[in-house]
């Protein structure tokens, strides 16, 4: 009976119900997408770094897992000392450069030979390896997103590059240029931001890392297979707080709209509330009826919100194929829980107001 009452009430004002449902849907979608975008980007970046194929990464002292944030580059000479360590098979210096034209990218300045031995080489979809100083390698996703073809001239860092090849994605960056050219361009002659190290056997990773810490005290040494677990929003200063603030904002939208919806509902149904009281309904019945109605509205909104999340993701991925948005059941459930708590909370004051209404006054309300 309660179910029928709630369903009929929701259907009675379809537009108001729809607005309430949409507000909750937007709330849920915002939470799911914001979290999905950040964790998607982080996971995707981490996978790309893991995918390089090296065993160890050396960074300057106190460097972040987020490579673009790394401090001042190291002298390239360090590479020679690394190659002398036992069990080290090869060492590749890489100079990283942020590029923010047409999205945010990290450009890797590499020495093709050493990078090949460390990573096992690129898979060339089209074109050939770096030969000239202006050769640029682009991964397939970036090529698709930016409409780049082999043979094109592509402007990057105020320099005209010749697109030598489209390579398969997953080797750290999406754009690769010769190390020397990049060093000259950014004024970092004989410098490298990171060194990638390949051991003779993966089992030696620990030993080699220990030895590096010994020879180069203070430098940051990380095994590449740890990147996935290290790349979380809590590791970026302020990012988690930002995500939390966005979630709070989304919850506020849902809460306010639910509040307004239920508040107008209670005003509109003043006389009905008087009638229920005349039939012997107590405060708890009135409160339960209204909170359940708000919760029902919210559940509809949650389903709409999940649908909206997938639709928005599909739309974004169609427009920006390099974007990664990770929608997880865990966060859908969490967003649903947050929305539900918000809906009950938003409806609690109107429900309390309704339960406190004077029955006689309510019955004479027009």
């Amino acid at each position: 009976m309660m179910g029928e009452l709630i369903a009929r009430n929701l259907l009675h004002r379809p537009l108001r119900t729809l607005i309430g449902v949409m507000a909750v849907a937007v709330e849920v979608a915002l939470v799911v997408l914001i979290v999905g975008l950040t964790s998607g980007l982080l996971t995707e970046t981490a996978k790309r770094i893991e995918g390089i194929g090296a065993d160890i990464m050396l960074q300057p002292p106190a460097a972040s897992v987020f490579l673009g944030f790394s401090g001042s580059p190291m002298p390239i000479k360090i590479g020679e000392r690394l190659s002398e360590i036992k069990y080290v098979q090869s060492v590749a210096p890489v100079l990283l450069q942020f590029n923010s034209t047409g999205g945010v990218d990290v450009i890797y300045g590499i020495d093709p030979d050493s990078f090949r031995t460390v990573s096992g080489g690129f898979v060339f979809i089209e074109g050939h390896d770096m030969e000239g100083p202006d050769d640029l390698l682009v991964d397939d996703w970036a090529a698709k997103a930016k409409h780049i073809k082999v043979g094109d001239t592509y402007k990057l860092l105020n320099h005209d590059w010749h697109v030598a090849a489209i390579i398969e994605h997953g080797k750290g960056a999406r754009l690769f240029v010769p190390l020397d050219t990049l060093q000259d361009l950014v004024g970092a002659r004989d410098k490298a931001s990171i060194f990638l190290i390949k051991c003779t056997r993966p089992e030696h990773t620990e030993d080699v890392m220990e030895e590096i810490r010994h020879t180069l005290p203070g430098y940051t040494v990380r095994p590449l297979k740890d990147f996935l677990s290290l790349m979380t929003s809590t590791n970026i200063p302020g990012l988690q707080a930002f995500i939390n603030a966005m979630i709070a904002l989304a919850v506020c939208i849902g809460l306010l709209v639910i509040f307004l919806t239920m508040y107008t509902t209670v005003i509109e149904r003043t006389r009905d509330i008087g009638v229920l009281k005349s039939l012997g309904a107590d405060s708890s019945f009135i409160i339960r009826a209204l909170l359940s109605e708000s919760a029902a509205l919210c559940v509809l909104g949650i389903f709409a919100g999940v649908g909206l999340s997938y639709a928005v993701r599909a739309a974004f991925l169609a427009g920006f194929p390099t974007l990664s948005i990770l929608i997880t059941p865990g966060w859908i459930l969490r967003a649903a829980g947050i929305a539900l708590i918000g809906a009950v909370f938003g409806a609690s004051y109107p429900a309390w107001l309704a339960s406190r209404k004077d029955a006689v006054e309510a019955l004479s309300y027009d």
């Binding site: 009976m1 309660m2 029928e4 009452l5 009929r8 009430n9 259907l11 009675h12 006389r271 009905d272 008087g274 009638v275 229920l276 009281k277 005349s278 039939l279 012997g280 309904a281 107590d282 405060s283 019945f285 029955a359 006689v360 019955l363």
Partner: protein
């Protein structure tokens, strides 16, 4: 039964005097109701003494503003008395908490209003069923059938209030009020919004409820003809009962 009673107990006199030996189902003692309007208290009831026997049907008449509705709300437990006592089926309402008054109303009182007051989103059936749901015994199909048959509503159960005539709406409201077998049915001008033909139907049905099912009824009315359907008429003026002195 009335005849048998007068024959076997002639010493007790006419029918309703004879019933006085029974505990009244409803009784007020020096009942006051004050409304606060700004800084002054407006008395709506000023010492009402009133009793209704089980199975009795009573019409309450009086000029507008004399306190009829106030009396009904207080004895139905919807409003609180300011002074005095109200006994419903032996329970003193004035000594009960809000929650206890609500419970008593749920189990012993049925209300019918001038404006029908059906829930607009529910069907006729839903309006009756929700009273059973609030009452707590769940849906009783037998009682439901008896009541809807009695009120001639059998074919109209799946319509919403907006699809029913005024007379039908008021019959649904009466069905809702009596579905849980209340001790007392309280009606506040139930024919006030009806044309004379529908009024007559509703009054007939109230009388039938009283005669056939023994339903105790207290009804407020402005219509002198309506009183002919009732056992007794009580007149009010200025917040008190002025029995025997016609007030209108």
């Amino acid at each position: 039964m009335g005849i048998a009673a007068t024959i076997t107990a002639p010493a007790e006199g006419p029918f309703f005097q004879g019933k006085k030996s029974v505990e009244p189902i409803l009784k007020t003692e020096n009942l006051w109701k004050l409304y606060r309007a700004g800084k002054v208290d407006v008395p709506a009831l000023r010492g009402v003494n009133f009793a209704v026997q089980p199975g009795e049907s009573v019409a309450v008449m009086g000029p507008s503003g004399c306190g009829k509705s106030s009396l009904l709300y207080v004895i139905g437990g919807l409003a609180q008395a300011s002074r005095g006592k109200v006994f419903v089926d032996g329970n003193d309402l004035t000594s009960l908490s809000d929650a206890a008054r609500t419970r008593l109303r749920r189990h012993k009182i049925g209300f019918v209003f001038q404006r029908f007051n059906l829930l607009p989103t529910l069907t006729a059936k839903g309006n009756i069923a929700i009273a059973q749901f609030i009452h707590g015994d769940g849906f009783d199909p037998h009682r439901f059938d008896v009541v809807t048959q009695l009120l001639g509503l059998a074919g109209r159960m799946h319509h919403k209030p907006s699809e029913l005539s005024g007379g039908e709406q008021q019959r649904v409201a009466i069905a809702r009020a009596i579905i849980n077998e209340p001790k007392i049915l309280l009606a506040d001008e139930p024919t006030g919004n009806l044309d004379s033909k529908n009024s007559e139907v509703v009054l007939q049905m109230l009388r039938q409820l009283n005669k056939d099912l023994g339903q105790t009824i207290v009804m407020i009315t402005h219509n002198p003809e309506a009183t002919t359907y009732f056992d007794r008429v009580v007149h009010m003026r200025d917040g008190i009962i002025v029995d025997g002195v016609p007030a209108d």
